[in-house]
């Protein structure tokens, strides 16, 4: 089971409509991605809180050993 970059972006976009989202396929196997999410709503939150919000947006896609997404290197930022 794999997932497409645009599907990941769509999932994140649903929770962060105004975010700047960059998805990079790290291994070319549809399972290892990097995501950078820049959003105003992160202001005032620590990194754990920011990333937890992004994980929540992924709707369990990373859950369990059979999760579609094996690895997502996540970077969250507040817009400059």
């Amino acid at each position: 089971m794999a997932i497409e970059a645009h599907e990941i972006e769509a999932l994140i976009r649903a929770s962060f409509p105004d975010a700047q989202i960059t998805i990079t396929d790290l291994a070319g196997d549809g399972k290892h991605y990097a995501a950078e999410v820049v959003d105003e709503s992160f202001r005032g939150k620590n990194r754990v809180q920011q990333q937890r919000a992004v994980y929540a947006a992924l709707n369990g896609k990373m859950d369990g050993p059979d999760g579609q997404l094996h690895a997502l290197a996540l970077t969250t930022k507040i817009p400059d």
């Binding site: 990194r47 754990v48 990333q51 970077t75």
Partner: protein, 120 residues
């Protein structure tokens, strides 16, 4: 269920720094776990490694405990600090040093500076 939770709580109660990881500190079995263990090893931090691959109940239990979906997970004095990406960022920004200073965790400051030099 409660058994895994008890094991997790015990590990956190008995150790100032705990890394839940895939594999062991000597033989990590995932690149992300390897990176965090490598930082702690290099900075000479005393920590307990818990291999989640050895016990499925702990593997799921720690995700429920922290409401965090991925392994590795680093805890300092019982507090969840972050996964691989957060620890990497904190190492490079010096925030990890600050955290260890605040929480009175011994580490090799010179080694931490060397990591930053190498990644500058």
């Amino acid at each position: 269920m409660t058994d895994a939770r008890t094991q997790i709580q015990q590990a956190l109660d008995e150790n100032d720094v705990v890394l839940f990881m895939k594999g062991t500190r000597e033989m990590p079995q995932c690149g992300f776990s390897s990176r965090v263990a490598g930082v702690l090893n290099y900075m000479n931090v005393a920590y307990r490694d818990v291999n989640v691959l050895a016990d499925d109940a702990v593997r799921q239990g720690i995700k429920d405990y922290s409401d965090w979906p991925t392994i590795p997970q680093l805890y300092v004095k019982g507090e969840f600090i972050g996964g691989c990406d957060i620890i990497t960022e904190m190492t490079l920004s010096g925030e990890l040093d600050q955290l260890f200073d605040q929480k009175e965790i011994a580490y090799n400051k010179e080694a931490a500076d060397k990591i930053r030099e190498a990644n500058a």
